[in-house]
């Protein structure tokens, strides 16, 4: 385990070079360039607003600012999660020539896409923070939990990304299964709604680690309360297990990559 980390550290400049390349690649020869980083989450936010608006009208309430903020604050990490997984899953197969011909720790592939997507998240967050300032949402001291939650999110996503990258290399339909699951994932993850809206399903919804993370982020940023300890620990647990467990599996199967790709 220790040597895995050491080897990756030695190749850190390659990891950074790869990440920068991935970011450039997304925006090369496009008209909108970096705006794409904002466009995608905007669509999700817009859809969320429409859904929430519909739900509000049906139940006779009106749509208030905090609900808009909720949707925004949860859509961004969700967009990150979806994007990072889609890219990571195909990261090995999509770089077949490099995997077959040159040696460097293969973790660089999924990690660089996750980090690249993190950059997108950052850009989008900046944009939406500006918007949220106008909503006069305000900040509480609990915002200090946000970096921790983002860290959990990244670890969990990276872990899952590695596992799926591995899986897709050996079985090429993993990628399509992932696509389908992610498309419907938005229904059983509390992005457009709060888990508390469905009391009997609440625990089940939060058992989804992403659900737990998203709800915690919501609590900290929008509701301005401390995160629920149980779910915080739960999310942290999943993040660490997923990350190191997947990395271990990835590393163990790595020798076969060049042959089986």
């Amino acid at each position: 385990m220790g040597e895995m980390i050491k080897e990756l550290f030695e190749y850190r400049s390659l990891l950074i070079a790869f990440t920068i390349r991935n970011i450039h690649m997304k925006y090369k020869q496009t008209v909108m360039g970096f705006l794409w980083a904002i466009f995608m989450p905007s669509i999700i936010v817009l859809s969320g607003v429409v859904v929430k608006g519909a739900m509000a009208t049906l139940s006779g309430h009106s749509l208030d600012i905090s609900q808009f903020a909720s949707v925004t604050v949860k859509s961004l990490p969700w967009a990150f999660f979806v994007g990072a997984l889609k890219f990571s899953t195909n990261s090995l197969v999509g770089n077949m020539e490099l995997v077959k011909k040159i040696y460097f720790p293969r973790e660089v592939f999924p990690f660089s896409y996750v980090l690249g997507q993190l950059f997108d998240l950052f850009i989008a967050s900046l944009a939406f923070t500006v918007i949220l300032i106008f909503t006069k949402l305000g900040i509480s001291s609990h915002i200090i939990w946000l970096p921790v939650l983002i860290l959990f999110l990244v670890l969990f996503t990276a872990g899952l990304g590695m596992l799926l990258a591995c899986g897709n290399l050996f079985y090429r339909d993993v990628r399509y299964i992932v696509d389908v699951i992610l498309t419907f994932g938005i229904f059983f993850t509390p992005v457009f709604y709060e888990a508390s809206m469905f009391p009997q399903w609440e625990t089940a919804l939060l058992l989804n680690p992403i659900g737990a993370i998203l709800e915690s982020i919501n609590r900290v940023v929008v509701l301005q309360k401390a995160p629920d300890v149980i779910w915080l620990v739960y999310a942290g647990f999943w993040a660490i297990i997923c990350f190191f467990g997947s990395w271990y599996i990835f590393h163990k199967t790595e020798p076969l990559f060049a042959e089986k790709i």
């Binding site: 400049s13 070079a17 390349r21 090369k28 077959k100 011909k101 040696y103 339909d173």
Partner: protein, 413 residues
């Protein structure tokens, strides 16, 4: 501790399709469950050994040549040393920073400019950003694409592409360098630059392992050579010692291929089915010591033909052709042009031909004897093609010449 050490390395590959989708996983698992448990030593039906018990080392500062026919396992060794694949059995050790020129344009991305690709490829090959900054101008100058360095590489010609790739790779300066036949790009100018660069690397003490089919090059720069064939290490030693073995293997392969080709087309020579004349046997031999089908360049060649004919044939013309393996007709003679007319052929007999010293270049040849009517319009019989081999004792007869005459030189200065 040598820079590269390989001990008893075995590597097997699987042929055919593998399970590639989850849909095939379940039947695959079930099959595996019911099959016998296998050890590493055995091969399933679709597996084959790419490397068998290979042991060798590369010493500090030397250039080791790795030669062998296609499929011998040369690239597999390089991939093993670069840690791209792992051996099934055995161990290997690499002591020092290793860089492999196995696929020099692998990291290139078409959408990025030459400049960006140099940086990216450089970092893949292990150079730090600082190193790249320092060497950037050298690299671009070496490649000769200065003018286009800021254009996306998808607009490059394939020559520019390869030269830029090689330029980056050539400036890596590792302790150990693995080269896999990448030296064949560019015009003469560029090739000279490449050769010069190799020599510089050698002088600075880099250990190099070179895989190549270019035997003159290997002779030129390799101090030691390793010969592989079908995954086995046939011989190690100084270049002049090992290369004849390689040539032998290649010649043999040539011979077998020709034999197979002729066997396949043998039934096409049916035209003389109706002909009264049949050539039953053709032999090529050394007229001095009678060895069959193998001669040295400087030995006299004799041919013996056994024929039989149902009816007497008047005034036939007998001809023989010697054709090289690449199809060049090297030598030919017939009874009409050599003023040795044959008046009659009847029943059975033998035709003996003494061709003398032909000084043919070493290689694989085939002989064809034919018996024609008096005007050489239609053949009575054409023999089966007889394959024979010409060899030489010395090396370096890497020439396309048809024959190598004994020449007397006299120089007055």
């Amino acid at each position: 501790m040598q820079p590269i050490e390989c001990h008893n390395v075995w590597k097997k590959y699987t042929k055919g399709e593998k399970i590639n989708s989850l849909r095939d996983l379940i039947p695959g698992l079930t099959k595996a469950f019911f099959k016998q448990k296998q050890t590493e030593d055995e091969l399933t039906a679709k597996e084959f050994w790419a490397l068998k018990d290979v042991t060798f080392d590369v010493r500090r500062g030397e250039v080791l040549g790795i030669i062998g026919p296609n499929g011998a396992g040369k690239s597999t060794i390089l991939k093993l040393l670069s840690k791209i694949i792992r051996p099934n059995k055995g161990t290997f050790a690499v002591n020092g920073r290793l860089s492999a020129l196995i696929e020099i344009t692998a990291g290139f991305h078409p959408e990025f400019t030459g400049r960006e690709n140099v940086y990216f490829n450089g970092s893949i090959l292990g150079m730090s950003k600082r190193e790249l900054d320092e060497k950037f101008d050298q690299i671009v100058d070496f490649s000769g694409v200065e003018e286009f360095i800021d254009t996306p590489v998808k607009r490059y010609s394939s020559g520019m592409y390869a030269r830029l790739g090689f330029a980056v790779a050539a400036h890596v300066n590792p302790d150990i360098l693995l080269v896999d036949e990448v030296l064949a790009v560019g015009d003469i100018n560029f090739q000279a630059k490449c050769a010069q660069k190799m020599r510089e690397l050698l002088k600075s003490g880099t250990t190099i392992a070179l895989v190549s089919h270019n035997i003159p090059l290997v002779q030129n720069i390799c101090s030691r050579v390793v010969l592989l064939n079908h995954g086995e290490l046939i011989r190690t030693g100084p270049a002049d010692d090992v290369i004849p073995f390689y040539q032998n293997i290649v010649t043999q392969k040539n011979e077998e291929e020709l034999k197979r080709k002729f066997a396949a087309t043998a039934d096409r020579l049916q035209i003389q089915e109706k002909s009264p004349v049949q050539i039953s046997e053709v032999r090529v031999f050394n007229t001095v010591n009678n060895t069959v089908n193998r001669l040295l360049t400087n030995e006299p060649l004799g041919i013996e033909v056994h024929y039989s004919t149902a009816q007497p044939i008047e005034q036939p013309i007998i001809e023989f052709d010697i054709v090289r393996s690449d199809g060049v007709l090297c030598c030919s003679a017939n009874t009409r042009d050599s003023q040795s007319p044959v008046s009659l052929l009847e029943k059975n007999g033998t035709i003996k031909i003494n061709a003398g010293h032909l000084y043919l270049t070493p290689g694989i040849y085939h002989l064809e004897v034919s018996i024609w009517d008096r005007d050489m319009i239609h053949p009575h019989a054409i023999s089966k093609r007889e394959i024979f081999r010409i060899e030489a004792h010395q090396l370096n007869l890497d020439t396309n010449a048809v024959f190598l005459p004994k020449v007397h030189w006299e120089i007055n200065s």
